[in-house]
């Protein structure tokens, strides 16, 4: 049969449902009350933390420190972006931290020991991550070992691999100028403005075009005011950020000028756009959500669930490799601690704080960025307050627990209101 079957003659779709601004706002609050809180806790937390730290330590609110936040949070944010995929399909990757360490070691060895050009070393490091992800994914999806166990084993093993690669703990210096630039250099101020303008224009174009197409076809849309407000908010945010980052941060401009958007910012933004596109706009992204939401339903819909689960691990470990490269760049070196100690927990924390569910099926790429920002602000702010690392660990642990608690409670709330 070539046409789809109608039980009765097709009734034209309902007339365009125009939602008023008030209706939109009410709908949002109804969703929040119903347990669909999204990234609200992360945004609120970020605001509160920033306010508190700025009052207690005015340096926190300086342009120099603002720029610091990006390089401090970058590696964790990138690893968290990868973890979102694994969490989406209802799995966990405990080895992501040391995966980034292994890949950073590969990078450092190829650069320092073999003297290969940066692009080969970076490609090899990313490839190492991809291979690691494929192996982990195979063990979880095809062999059927729980991901917790597989990645816990990998966590231990990769810790050893880093030690072996680094000859029992030597520190390899990374001096390649391109690699070092990733986390340490800034864009020329003009380029910062150009990129911000391009981003705003592209966002506005996509949003308005979507609005026009959907209203043209008589489909329900967000009110135009909301669309315009979103565009305005993005313009304001990017504009402020670029302006602040373009302020001279050097204490003595005679020695060196220090201004401009850090190079890492457009890298994170690019990956954020890429993964958001993949998750929201492609069938593959849809299948990731379906697999996390109801694996059996996804399987019955003809989705190759095993392949989806493996691909989630591949993306996660590949992003961990990118995070490892950034970490190596920031420290100018790789040592056995790269990607170790608290990196993994910070990354998982970032994803969960941002609003990605530990139970699968819920999460977005931007969660990693929001959560990464929260984690970076905590580390940075507490550092400025002069607290010991002991207290930092305790506080970060509490924040992670709080975020996971909010996740669990919002699920219960959703179940109670019939939202899940």
């Amino acid at each position: 049969m070539s046409t789809h079957i109608e039980a009765t003659p097709a009734v034209k779709a309902a007339p365009p449902r125009t939602v008023s601004l008030g209706g939109h706002v009410r709908g949002y609050f109804a969703r929040v009350r119903g347990g669909d809180i999204g990234s609200l806790p992360a945004v609120l937390g970020l605001l509160v933390l920033c306010a508190v730290f700025s009052i207690v330590r005015p340096t926190f609110f300086s342009p120099g420190n603002f720029a610091n936040l990006f390089s401090q949070g970058a590696a964790v944010t990138l690893i968290a972006m990868g973890l979102v995929f694994v969490l989406l399909v209802g799995e966990i990757d405990l080895s992501a931290g040391f995966t980034s360490g292994v890949c950073a070691s590969v990078l450092a060895i190829l650069l320092a020991t073999y003297g290969l050009p940066w692009y080969i070393a970076v490609a090899a490091a990313v490839l190492a991550g991809t291979v690691i992800g494929a192996v982990l994914g195979f063990l979880v999806a095809k062999v059927g070992i729980p991901s917790f166990v597989v990645t816990l084993a990998a966590f231990l093993a990769f810790q050893g691999v880093v030690l072996l690669l680094l000859k029992e703990g030597t520190n390899i210096t990374v001096s390649d100028s391109v690699v070092v630039a990733i986390a340490n250099r800034n864009l020329p101020p003009v380029l910062g403005w150009v990129l911000a303008a391009v981003a705003v224009a592209a966002y506005a174009g996509v949003q308005l075009n979507r609005f026009r197409r959907r209203t043209g076809r008589g489909l329900a849309t967000d009110p135009l005011v909301v669309v315009l407000l979103r565009i305005g908010a993005l313009t304001l945010m990017l504009g402020t950020a670029v302006y602040v980052l373009n302020v001279e941060r050097s204490l003595n401009t005679l020695i060196a000028s220090l201004k401009g958007v850090p190079v890492i910012v457009p890298i994170i933004a690019g990956l954020l756009i890429l993964w958001t596109f993949l998750l929201d706009k492609t069938p593959y992204g849809r299948h990731l959500y379906a697999t996390g939401g109801n694996r059996e339903a996804a399987r019955r819909a003809g989705i190759n669930v095993d392949r989806i689960r493996i691909s989630a691990f591949v993306l996660c470990s590949t992003m961990a490799a990118v995070g490892g490269i950034v970490a190596a760049s920031r420290d100018h070196s790789v040592d056995p601690n790269t990607g170790g100690s608290n990196v993994l927990l910070y990354a998982v924390g970032a994803a969960v704080i941002g609003g990605t569910s530990l139970f699968g099926g819920k999460g977005r790429a931007r969660d990693a960025v929001l959560g990464g920002a929260v984690v970076a602000v905590i580390i940075n702010g507490m550092g400025l307050m002069g607290y010991s690392s002991g207290i930092k660990y305790v506080v970060t642990g509490c924040v992670l627990l709080l975020a996971a608690g909010v996740d669990a409670l919002s699920r219960r709330r959703a179940a109670a209101t019939g939202n899940r």
């Binding site: 079957i5 039980a7 009734v11 329900a220 959500y289 379906a290 939401g293 059996e296 339903a297 899940r420």
Partner: protein, 268 residues
């Protein structure tokens, strides 16, 4: 029920075991376009297993599946879907975290190039639901988790209708529904058959079966007791076929039926 056209799907000699438990023994089953075939049987008689074999969830151990007269093998849900065989499962098989449109197109998304074509999918979903006289849904963009049982059943059925399906199998579609919603679903089954689809209705409920079916097939302990036009049997006979495997000269030959009766004393 006019003079039946040739069967669209014809199963014969189907066997299926799970380890030592043989769930289906030498089962034959035919499905004809334009008819509602009721598949009845007690709990554990093998109804769901038979459906899962047809839809590619399980592989059969032995037996022949003829589709439009040609032998086929169904190796997975995709295979079945490619033949236009759609199943609406008892447990609905919807993803709670996806919205109505996303669920209806799951696994077969429309796309333009690499990108999902959300607008077209939403239009088709709205058309299909309107065609099924569904007006209770607030928005096609609300997550399925926020729908009522009847609405979820409707989405699941609409999902099957949306595709160029030839065979639609409804697995206990009315089990969790109220009276009005049951009526709607049965009417929907009738309409699909009148449109030339082959509809299989799995049900425990004799009222549902007699309200809508053209033909009734009764499974008894993994064997097909009888498959007869509904006009040739009475209510009581069907119940007997379900509980004892035979009724008068219909059904399985008598053998050690005393024990079987005992086994099936408690109906679920």
């Amino acid at each position: 029920m006019s003079t039946s056209p040739s069967p669209l799907l014809e199963l014969s000699g189907i066997n299926k075991s799970f380890g030592p438990v043989q769930v289906l023994r030498d089962v034959g089953f035919t499905v004809t376009p334009g008819e509602v075939t009721a598949l009845v049987g007690d709990n554990g008689a093998g109804k769901s297993t038979l459906v899962k074999c047809v839809s590619g969830i399980y592989s059969i151990d032995s037996g022949v599946v003829l589709y439009d007269g040609e032998p086929i093998t169904i190796n997975g849900p995709r295979d079945a879907a490619d033949r236009g065989i759609e199943v609406v499962y008892q447990d609905l098989a919807l993803c709670d975290n996806l919205d109505v449109v996303q669920n209806m197109f799951l696994g077969r998304e429309r796309r333009t190039g690499l990108v999902l074509d959300e607008a077209t999918m939403e239009e088709l979903a709205a058309e299909t639901l309107a065609g099924l006289s569904v007006r209770t849904m607030k928005s096609l963009r609300q997550p399925v988790s926020s729908l009522s049982g009847g609405q979820r059943q409707t989405v699941a059925i609409a999902k099957a209708v949306l595709w160029n399906s030839n065979v639609v199998i409804l697995d206990e579609p009315t089990a969790a529904l109220g009276v009005a919603q049951t009526g709607q679903v049965l009417e929907l089954a009738r309409r699909m058959a009148d449109n030339g689809l082959a509809v299989v209705l799995i049900s425990h409920n004799m009222n549902d079966v007699f309200a809508v079916a053209d033909r009734v097939a009764a499974l008894y302990l993994g064997r097909m007791a009888a498959q007869v036009p509904i006009t040739e049997v009475t209510h009581a006979q069907v119940v007997e076929l379900i509980t004892a495997g035979r009724s008068g000269d219909l059904g399985l030959p008598a053998a050690g039926s005393g024990d079987d009766y005992g086994l099936n004393g408690a109906r679920g």
